[in-house]
Subunit: 194 residues, 2 copies
């Protein structure tokens, strides 16, 4: 982890402040309708400085997604060694929890994510990084040969598990929270193995 110097703490505070401000604007006027100039102005920083904290506008919304992927990887590696890889993946994904906002806000943010094309695209892009980070462990469990061009079992399992999570997320956003995300995820995953 990054050591907690004064610099880093200040930086983190500014980062959080920008994210908070921007999210408020997004929820009030929509993601696409909010320009980076507006965010910078509202957060009291220059446009140029904004890009020192966030590479793109999308990163504000999807910031902690990479961290969640690491959570899933750690959880997967903690699953018992003999467990069926697909089951292990399913269980590992239950370790992912959203704590950034309260339930109502989380629903709004999720809906925004699935409805805004550029956000949706970046979201999936981050999932591709999850895939890369989970792949080695699933390969190990399958005793798969990474050099065999025909053996795509590990890739397929990981990618489809993530896809199920995505399907569940979209259904959750549409359902207005009538059902829980883990419930939906299990329902999606079960559909593949009747």
């Amino acid at each position: 982890m990054t050591e907690q110097t004064l610099w880093n703490r200040t930086r983190q505070a500014v980062y959080d402040e920008i994210a908070r401000t921007a999210m408020g604007l997004f929820l009030a006027h929509g993601f696409e309708a909010t320009t980076i100039d507006e965010i910078a102005k509202a957060a009291g920083i220059s446009r140029r400085s904004f890009f020192r904290y966030f590479g793109t506008k999308e990163d504000i919304v999807l910031g902690d997604l990479a961290a969640k992927g690491e959570l899933a990887r750690v959880a997967l590696e903690a699953r018992p060694d003999g467990e069926d890889p697909w089951t292990a993946l399913r269980q590992a994904f239950h370790a992912i929890k959203d704590v950034a906002y309260d339930g109502e806000t989380m629903l709004k943010v999720t809906r925004m994510m699935y409805e805004t094309p550029s956000l949706r695209a970046r979201h999936i892009e981050k999932h591709l990084q999850w895939q890369a980070s989970l792949l080695p462990e699933v390969r190990r469990r399958l005793r798969a040969d990474a050099t065999d061009p025909l053996d795509v079992r590990a890739e397929a399992l990981v990618a489809c598990a993530i896809t199920c999570l995505d399907v569940a997320g979209e259904a959750w956003a549409r359902s207005n929270g009538a059902v829980t995300l883990p419930e939906l995820f299990d329902s999606a995953a079960a559909a593949l193995r009747p």
Copy 2:
């Protein structure tokens, strides 16, 4: 289908010419390194006119992907009624054939697609449209209730079938064509039901 007036035929010819020219530039200098100004100049049209044929640079590469989705939908609807939905999806995807370029070029284009972030993102976006278009038929076969927020079986099946195709495509591009795409797709799909 659009009726074949003189206007439409001319328009189609220009469209094809732009696509051909642009693809040549992409393969020669890379997708991101090629600007729209360069494409327009090489194709002998104005920058403004380019955007009347293609909404984005990515659409040049992914142009016929929507048509392929329709191909898959038609093939799915033609599968026998009693067939297991997952099997029907698998078989339907075998109807998708690439005929746009010769094998070697197709490999290069595919590799470019998987390696360029913006292309990859749009590619997945198009796949989301496939999902929407295939969903009703799979729901019908599952006798699924579209209003039940917990029933995500159809979504999961369609999305994962597409994901398998995507996994297969990436593996194919990486393998330099050592194995065929249908082979890889079957291998990926089989991994989910051992």
